[in-house]
Amino acid sequence: MKVAERMLVTVSPHLHKKDETIQRAMKDVLVALIPAAVWALVVFGFNVVYILAVSCATAALSEVVMRKIMRRKPTLSDYSAMVTAVLFAFLLPPTTPLWVVAIGAFLAVGVGKEIFGGLGKNIFNPAIFARVLLWYSPLAIYTTKYVKPFFWKTSGFFTPVATSINEGAVGRVVYKTLAGNPVADLTSAATPLSLLKSGRWLPEMVSGPTPVGATWLNSGGKPSFWSLFLGLKSGCIGEVCILALILGGAYLLWRRTIDWRIPAGIIGVFFLLTLVTWYHPIYNLFSGGLFLGSFFMATDWVTSPVTRRGKWIFAAGIGATVFILRFWSLRPEGVAIAIFLWNIATLVIDRYIAVPKFGEVGAKAFNRLPVIPEPAPEPAKKRA
C-alpha cells in the first residue's frame, strides 16, 4: 500500500483546541477595547485617534527593529505589540504631545518587552512599564495634565491639541494646536481623584465654585454617579467610561481570555477597604484607572501568576496597594504603580506559593526544591 511520505511523527497529544492561539487572545483584547476607544473619541475628540495611531506605529516599528537587532524571529503578527500600544495610549491624558507618545510606545515595546526577551519573558506589563517610567522622568509633566471632557468643543473635533509646558513662564501649561496656536479657554482640569486628593474630604471640596469649571460636575459642584460611571469626566483616554470597560471585560471573561479571579480580587479588596475606612467607596471605585487596570492590565498573561492561588494573592495585593497609594500617597492615583510592583511580586509568588498536587496530603504552603540525586529524606526526620 502506498504510504504518504509526509506522515508526521510528533509526541502526543495529536489534537489541539480549535482557535486557541496567542493571536486570537490578543485580537480578543483589541476587540474588547473598542467600546472604551469609541467612548474616548466621543469625549476627547479626534485627538485620541492621533495618539493611538502614533502609539501603534511606534510600537510596531520598535518591535520590528529591536527584534531585528537582537536577531529574533519577527512576531508582529501575534498582535501583542498592538495591544501594548493601545493600552499604553489609553493610559495617557488626551492631550499628550505626540512625540511623548512615541517615546513612551518605544519604552513599552522596545524596552519593556523586547529588552527583557520578548513576549513571555517580560517582567512588567509593557504599557504599565512605559507609563511608570514616564511618570518618573522629566516628561512627567506632559503626562499628568488633564483637560475637561468635550474640550474639543472649543478647539474643533479634528484639531490636534497638545499640552505645552513652560510657555512664557516656568511651569505654565497651555494647550496648542499642531500649528502652534494656543487654544483659547482650554485649561487643565482636575480628575475625580485629584479633586478628592486636594480636598481630602469630598463634600467640602465640591461645595462652592470648582477650580476648573469642569462640566462634569453638577450644579451643586458635585460629580454625579452617572458622570463617573459613564465617563463624563476628565482623565486618561481609556479609563473614563466604566461601562465601556465592563463591557470589554465581560467579553474577555466570556471568551476565557482573562481569569475572573484577578479583576474580582482587585476590585473586591479595594472596595472592601474603602468600605471599611468609609473613604468614599463608590466615588473611589468608579474613578481613576481601577477598572482599566483590573480588566486589561493586571490580567496580562505574562505578568500575572499562573496558579489560581497565586492569582488571588496577586489580585488582593494590587487592590490593597491601590488603596494604600490613593489613601496615603501624594499622588491621586495608584493603579499603575500597584500593578508595576505586583508584576515583580509575580515572580516570587509563582516560585514559592505551593499548589498541592492531586491527592497530596499535608501539603506545604511553600515550594521547596527536592534534592536530586540523593535519595529522598526519611519521612521520620520531619523538620519542626
Partner: protein, 442 residues
C-alpha cells in the same frame, strides 16, 4: 433534575476535545483479516522481558504460548495465528523503539478457537490470578501493566472496590463502547471475577454520559447483581485516567506516587475484564483484541477484532484504506497515542485503536515562547505546573522539574491541547522523567 443538563460525577480540571465518536460508534465489531505475516512482540507489557519459547521453523498452534518469563511482573505472549515460525527478528515497534518479535507465517486455513465451557463460579482468588497470568492478560487501555500483578494488592492494603474503566474518554475510539453494547453480560461476569480475585465487596462500572445506550445495556445485564453499580460520568477528558476515575466515582484521592490500592481500589479496563472472562470461562489466552480503526483519514471507520501482531497496514486496508492523504497515523487514541512514521508496526495487546488524521484536521503550528497564560495549569487534572516543568527542562534544572511535578504527570496531554503557544509539554515531561530517573539511579 427537572431541566437542563444533568450533573454527572467528574473531577477537577480537564478538557473537552472534539470527540468524533460518531465515526465508528455505530459499527458492529467485525473480524479483521488474518495478516500475511504476524509480528508478535515478545514484550507487550510493562515489566520484565519474555524469552522466546519457539525457534524458527517450529510449528505453532492458535493460542500457543510462544514467550514467557519467570519474573513476577511479566505476562506471557501467545500465538495469534496457527502457522510456522519464520524467524525471531528485531523490528521497530509502535513507540519507535526496537522490539524482539516472533514472526509467524500463518496457515492459509485458520482454525476457530476451541472454546471450552468452564465453571467460573467456584474459582478461588489464586486460581483467578493464575488464569490471568497464564492468559497473558495486561491492561488493555494502553498502559499494558500485567493484570495478575494488579490483582495481587499488598496484604496491608485490601481492595474493597473494583472499578471498570468504561469511560473511553479518548476521542475517536469506540471499541469499549461496542464491547459494552454487544457483550454486556461478559463484562459483568468479568467484573465479578475481578471482585472475587481481590475479595472486593463492590464493583462499579463508570461510563461517560455520551454512551447512554451502553449504560442501559450494562445496567440491564447487571440486574440482580446487588454489588455491581453502573455510574454515569461527565463527558470530559481524561475522565478515564485511573486517579481521576477513582476520585469521580468514590471521592477517594490516590496520593502522588501511590497506587490505587492505597485507597482500596482496583481499576481495570473494559477489554481487560472481558479478556479475563474469556480466559476463565473459555480458556482463551489474550491473542486478539477489539480495536477501533477510525479518523477522517479512513474510508470506512470500523471496530475490528484484530489478532495481536497484525501490521497496521492490514487493518487500514480492511477499512477501505486511506481517505485522502494521511497526515498522521496514530496508534492508540489521539490524546495519548503514538504517531507512526509508517504503517508497519504490529498491533499489541495494549492497542486500543488506530486513528488516521488528515492534514486538514491537524493543527501543527510551531512551538512558540510560553506566554504564561496559565491555561495548562487550569486544565491539569493533577494540579501540576506544566509550563514551569518545560521551563526547567529547557534550563536543565532537574530538581525544579521535579518540584513542578514532572514525576507526577501521567501525560494526558491536556496542557498541550490547550496551549496557545503550541508547546509540546509531554515531550519535555518525558525528558524530565528520564533525566531524573538517571540521576536518581546514580
Amino acid at each position: 433534575m427537572m431541566s437542563g443538563k444533568a450533573i454527572y460525577k467528574t473531577f477537577k480540571g480537564g478538557i473537552h476535545p472534539p470527540y468524533h465518536k460518531e465515526l465508528a460508534s455505530g459499527k458492529a465489531i467485525r473480524r479483521a483479516p488474518v495478516p500475511t505475516e504476524a509480528f508478535i512482540p515478545l514484550q507487550q507489557h510493562i515489566g520484565a522481558p519474555n524469552e522466546p519459547l519457539v525457534k524458527p521453523g517450529d510449528r505453532v498452534e492458535l493460542g500457543q504460548k510462544i514467550g514467557s518469563s519467570e519474573a513476577f511482573v511479566s505476562a506471557p505472549v501467545h500465538a495469534s495465528v496457527a502457522g510456522t515460525v519464520k524467524e525471531i527478528a528485531e523490528i521497530t515497534g509502535f513507540t519507535g523503539a526496537k522490539v524482539k518479535c516472533v514472526v509467524i507465517a500463518p496457515d492459509t486455513e485458520q482454525p476457530e478457537f476451541a472454546k471450552q465451557d468452564r465453571d467460573i463460579t467456584a474459582l478461588s482468588e489464586q486460581e483467578i490470578r493464575d488464569i490471568a497470568r497464564e492468559a497473558g492478560l495486561v491492561g488493555m487501555g494502553g498502559a499494558a501493566f500485567p493484570t495478575h500483578v494488579k490483582l495481587t494488592p499488598p496484604k496491608d492494603k485490601p481492595v474493597d472496590t473494583v472499578i471498570i474503566n468504561a469511560c473511553e474518554c479518548e476521542p475517536f475510539l469506540t471499541c469499549d463502547h461496542r464491547l459494552m453494547l454487544e457483550r454486556p453480560r461478559d463484562l459483568v461476569q468479568g467484573l465479578k471475577l475481578l471482585m472475587r480475585a481481590v475479595n472486593a465487596k463492590k464493583g462499579i462500572i463508570g461510563i461517560e454520559a455520551n454512551k447512554m445506550d451502553a449504560v442501559d445495556a450494562v445496567r440491564e445485564a447487571a440486574k440482580g447483581e446487588a454489588d455491581v453499580e453502573v455510574d454515569i460520568l461527565e463527558v470530559k477528558y481524561p475522565e478515564g485516567a485511573e486517579k481521576m476515575l477513582i476520585f469521580a466515582l468514590t471521592g477517594r484521592k490516590v496520593p502522588p506516587g501511590k497506587l490505587p490500592s492505597e485507597v482500596g481500589c482496583l481499576v481495570q479496563n473494559v477489554g481487560t475484564a472481558m479478556a479475563l472472562y474469556e480466559a476463565a470461562a473459555w480458556g482463551k489466552p489474550l491473542y486478539e483484541r477489539v480495536l477501533t480503526v477510525t479518523g477522517p483519514g479512513i474510508k470506512e471507520p470500523s471496530n475490528l477484532l484484530a489478532r495481536v501482531g497484525t501490521p497496521i497496514s492490514t487493518l487500514i486496508e480492511a477499512c477501505g484504506g486511506f481517505a485522502g492523504e494521511p497526515g498522521k497515523v496514530i496508534m492508540g487514541g489521539p490524546m495519548t497515542g503514538w504517531a507512526q512514521p509508517d504503517t508497519k508496526a504490529p498491533v499489541v495487546k495494549g492497542t486500543s485503536g488506530i486513528v488516521v488524521l488528515t492534514s486538514e484536521v491537524m493543527d501543527v503550528s510551531a512551538e512558540q515562547e510560553c506566554v504564561r497564560c496559565g491555561k495548562c495549569v487550569d486544565v491539569c487534572p493533577m494540579f501540576l505546573l506544566p509550563n514551569f516543568v518545560v521551563q526547567a527542562v529547557k534550563r536543565a534544572e532537574w530538581d525544579k522539574a521535579e518540584m513542578w511535578g514532572a514525576l507526577d504527570c501521567f501525560e494526558c496531554g491536556c496542557c498541550s491541547f490547550t496551549c496557545p503557544a503550541y508547546i509540546p509539554h509531554v515531550e519535555y515531561v518525558r525528558k524530565a522523567k528520564a533525566e531524573i530517573a538517571a540521576l536518581k539511579r546514580r
